[in-house]
């Protein structure tokens, strides 16, 4: 049942990805990206990676959809028809994908009992028995993330922070003034208050 579910969910992923590529309407593509993320998180849960699924749900389906929408408000909703075939881009994408697949071939199989994390003589035992004394928190995962591999986590945080700053710089934090609005939006006399619309909606 588990294998069947994973296979079906991966097929959903492929179909959705092809749909995203084929569609010319960028807003529809953004909507399908949200669907892709939902499917991916479902697959993560089936494969017991609950924390990754949590992140995928919050970031992929929530924040990135809204960031895409923010980016779309600066552009047109239709993709431009391409005038040329981008063989160079295809070449680089295929090479990168091949390298990634080559890298995967070194990793242990899903759920393998002979992976280094399972067969290492001391490491899991030490984390389980001594992380409470050495680090403190009762949750072992927290100890590993924040202390045993603290520099790695710090680097990840820096990357995420930089990406956040870059996105904010690109999309802009400043609210648009009402006089910059297009005429049909600016014709009303009453300015919009935040939260006003949702109050009425519910």
């Amino acid at each position: 049942m588990e294998t069947l579910t994973i296979v079906v969910l991966l097929m959903f992923l492929v179909v959705t990805a092809i749909g995203i590529i084929v569609l010319r309407d960028l807003l529809a593509a953004v909507i399908l990206t949200g669907l892709y993320s939902l499917v991916a998180a479902g697959a993560f849960i089936v494969m017991d990676a609950v924390d990754v699924a949590f992140t995928e749900a919050a970031v992929g389906s929530g924040i990135s959809t809204i960031l895409f929408l923010g980016a779309l408000s600066f552009t047109k909703h239709q993709q431009k028809p391409r005038g040329h075939d981008s063989w160079v881009a295809l070449f680089f994408v295929v090479v990168t994908g091949g390298l990634l697949l080559f890298g995967i071939s070194d990793m242990p199989r899903y759920g393998s009992a002979t992976s280094p994390a399972q067969t290492h003589p001391q490491i899991a035992k030490r984390f389980i028995e001594q992380s409470g004394d050495e680090v403190g928190p009762p949750n072992i995962v927290t100890s590993v993330l924040a202390s045993y591999r603290g520099y790695d986590t710090l680097g990840e945080t820096v990357v995420v922070f930089t990406a956040g700053i870059a996105v904010m710089g690109l999309l802009g934090l400043k609210r648009r003034r009402p006089e910059d609005e297009t005429p049909e939006h600016a014709s009303g006399d009453v300015p919009h208050e935040p939260g006003h619309d949702t109050d009425r909606l519910t």
Binding site: G188, D189, L201, T202
Partner: protein, 153 residues
């Protein structure tokens, strides 16, 4: 007789789960086969809410009778609570935005119910009359105009 009650609860959960499955699958079929947006909205919106109610109730019964963990039942109740709020609201917002963009609903012969996209927009912008009646005749445009001017004054 706790054992007898547990078996009864499980049986009842089976029935509820079966009803939920029928709801969900019927909604999926309707979503694919129905002719236009508003009928699909009906299929998906109603069956999502109904199917969720039945399936979550079934899972609550199972969690109470087999796992004896009140946290699981509590989380399921929260899921049910949020779904009962969000699904109808999302359906309403979808229908209203579609009407506002000028997508006219059609009857079973493919004939538009509302005369023009502009009238559909006006109806989407107008508020429902106080007595709760819905006026689909072309005269409704006057009503919508009145409401609009009231809102702006």
């Amino acid at each position: 007789m706790p054992e007898f009650i547990a078996i009864l609860l499980t049986l009842f959960a089976w029935v509820l789960m079966l009803i939920g499955c029928v709801f969900i699958v019927a909604g999926g079929v309707g979503l694919v086969r129905f002719p236009d947006l508003y009928t699909r909205l009906h299929a998906a919106g109603v069956t999502d809410t109904g199917g969720t109610i039945f399936m979550v109730l079934a899972m609550i019964l199972i969690s109470l009778s087999q796992y004896q963990n009140p946290w699981i039942a509590g989380k399921l109740l929260l899921i049910l609570f949020f779904t009962l709020f969000t699904t109808p609201t999302a359906s309403h917002a979808l229908a209203k935005t579609a009407l506002l963009s000028g997508l006219v609903p059609k009857d079973e012969h493919g004939k538009p119910i509302i005369d023009s996209p502009e009238l559909a927009q006006k109806m989407a912008l107008s508020r429902a009359p106080k007595d709760g009646s819905v006026n689909l005749t072309p005269g409704a445009s006057d009503n919508a105009d009145n409401n609009k001017s009231d809102g702006n004054s």
